[in-house]
Subunit: 406 residues, 2 copies
């Protein structure tokens, strides 16, 4: 190799770290070089032999030859320390740690401003799909009304298997685990937390409004059975775990929950471990993005695109904060000039199924449309306030399934 | 209105020009102002009253207060003169004229370099979908293997109506005309020329290889009947007009033709006048984009995004020209270091249907898989070289339909 390289200090060498290495290897002429790799366990066998591994993080963070720090660890606390130290040292930073970014975005924004440095994190939100970049640099003068996405590849894989091959939840789960799609802590995926972190990040770029993860109502795919899949199929739906935020004249509502999506709609066509995002904006109208939602090389390619951009001085502007709301087209785009409030409550149309009893949780519903009972299984369809769903105990019961209906 | 504005000189005030005006009106705080509008016909009634209209193009092109020229005329010759004069005068330019850009891209690139100015033209290729921007600034270090798109909203509308409401071609055509989707010269849409211009532009950004429109084999949707739609439906396909370019180890192949797309594939789900694009790249994998493919406001929003970017100094880099091909992932990504050649010929699997006779055009096929005759209608399925299809007379016959099969 010849020429002048931007030297990269890489933290972490798991699936995405290795993917980034493969991408950089394959793209011979890229002016980037992984200078050192900081890992936690020096004794672990590594699949490559031409990199310098170390456990001494200071030797990366304080090396003046390293201009770009790439943080791809799995530990959010370690990631926060690495990223904030690197920003304070004037280094450009690329990270994929959704939990760390979602939980500390206001601090990370402040540090970038204060130290005149740049932090990019495209790979944190929808793997290979360039959603943050498009929100930041293309739709920055449009007015986003709604963003809805399938942001978690592993749960989408499980749901896809339950629908297309009539797998049970348990069998699909075991398969996702074996394929390496599920995170070490699978609750993060299954209970929807991973999607919630990503929605928190995307909301900041879509609406200029930071919503911390714990402010977002979140329900995962636990409790969904083949019976629920059949219900959905009979009604022309597929079940998808949707993370969505919607802006109205009175504020922003955000939630994560399994939704029944009508067959034929774009998000219903996101299969296997893919990710998909639908944007609705005042001017560009409906936009849909779909891409690979898992895998080291696809996610590594997003990291690589960020490395390339950060080396050229690109930075997020969180531009929505400075843009006033358009008026007129369409009317729903109107809103107050100040930061839109986060709506604590909203009315959802839901299906609640319970097995092993025949109780109807009437107190949950504002209005009940339909009640069905066969044997030990019953379901209700009706409208409910999120606050009611949040405070009920019955959703803790793993014999209960809840799906949001259109 | 207060504040400092970038003054825009606008050429043309048709559907997109008016859409841009509406978008700028709606986005109160945008630091842009349409200073003057040059139109051809001063006597025509205009839907707005707060703009200065003129027929004197010099008064825009040589006004030092105007820093940005936006060219939205329907006349490619006039557009070329406007855009090249503006670039030579050091102005930033935004254009949506696909024919002019596709036919003169090498000149336009040279002028940008020579005069240090920038020409952006996102709205020329897929209306509201930010495909050029993503190829330029996000996938610029990836290696695009294939780009395939539904790039013409009006023909997609016609095909959609033929499939979903069993319209005849003639009825669907009349409806598209009435809805204002078809261009003044409808042959441009129907015969595939519009898609071909767009593919020419996208190829330059995807592969760093300019392919002039006339080098691209092109077949439109003329000749498709309800019988062909039924054939497709029986086999689980929908018919879509696809513009596609594919890179292999030996070069690039590009063509425009109606394809049978299996139901469930992303491009099969592009309905009405929408546009959709599928990218296959070495690292990011499969990416899919869908968005509004027609309409003044959606297309105007792309122009607006370009105006905003150009005012900040953004310019296309045609970056693929400088990037060597990656090796290794996957093997098909490998290729020669120099500019890839344009392949003159390629083998396609096709369906050819003819009504009113019972001849089989055996000479067209390398291999015939299937022949079917009922009454006055026959079809053949087999593989054929593009060169054979290019030189046959039978495709001039409007009783003949050709579809590319998977």
């Amino acid at each position: 190799m010849q020429g002048v390289y931007n030297k990269i200090g890489l933290f972490g060498f798991g699936c995405v770290g290795h993917g980034l290495y493969q991408v950089l290897q394959a793209a011979q002429d890229a002016p980037f070089l992984i200078h050192k790799v900081c890992i936690r366990d020096a004794t672990k066998e590594r699949p490559v032999h031409d990199l310098e591994f170390t456990t001494d993080k200071e030797s990366l963070l304080y090396d003046p030859a390293i201009k770009i720090i790439v943080e791809l660890t799995s530990d959010p606390d370690a990631a926060l320390e690495i990223v904030t130290t690197a920003l304070r040292n004037g280094k450009s930073v690329v990270s994929a740690n959704k939990k760390m970014i979602a939980e500390h975005l206001p601090l990370l924004q402040r540090l970038q401003e204060q130290y005149g440095t740049s932090l990019l994190y495209e790979a944190s939100s929808a793997a290979s799909i360039p959603i943050i970049r498009n929100l930041e640099s293309y739709f920055n003068r449009d007015n986003i009304l709604c963003i809805q996405g399938i942001l978690n590849g592993s749960t989408n894989y499980i749901l896809h298997r339950m629908f297309t091959e009539q797998c049970t939840y348990a069998a699909a789960f075991a398969e996702a685990l074996q394929s390496g799609f599920l995170e070490a802590d699978s609750d993060n995926d299954i209970l929807g937390y991973d999607s919630r972190f990503k929605l928190s990040i995307l909301s900041a770029h879509a609406f200029g409004r930071y919503i911390s993860p714990e402010q977002i109502w979140c329900r995962g795919i636990q409790g969904i059975t083949k019976e629920d899949a059949h219900f959905a199929q009979r009604h022309g739906y597929v079940i998808k775990l949707i993370a969505g935020a919607k802006r109205s004249a009175i504020g922003i509502h955000a939630d994560v929950a399994p939704h029944c999506i009508p067959v034929g709609e774009p998000l219903a066509g996101v299969h296997y471990a893919d990710n998909g995002i639908q944007l609705e904006s005042a001017f560009a109208g409906l936009q849909f993005f779909k891409g690979t939602g898992a895998g080291g090389i696809a996610t590594g390619s997003a990291v690589w695109s960020d490395i390339s951009a950060v080396s050229e001085g690109y930075r997020y502007r969180y531009a929505k904060k400075q843009v006033a709301l358009p008026v007129g087209i369409p009317d729903v785009a109107r809103g107050p000039e100040e930061e839109p409030p986060l709506l604590q409550d909203t009315l959802l149309r839901v299906y609640i199924r319970y097995t092993g009893g025949s109780f109807i949780p009437e107190e949950l519903f504002e209005e009940i449309e339909e009640v069905f009972t066969r044997g030990a299984t019953s379901y209700c369809i009706g409208t409910a306030q999120i606050s009611a769903l949040q405070h009920t105990n019955i959703l803790q019961d793993d014999r209960v399934c809840i799906l949001v209906l259109p």
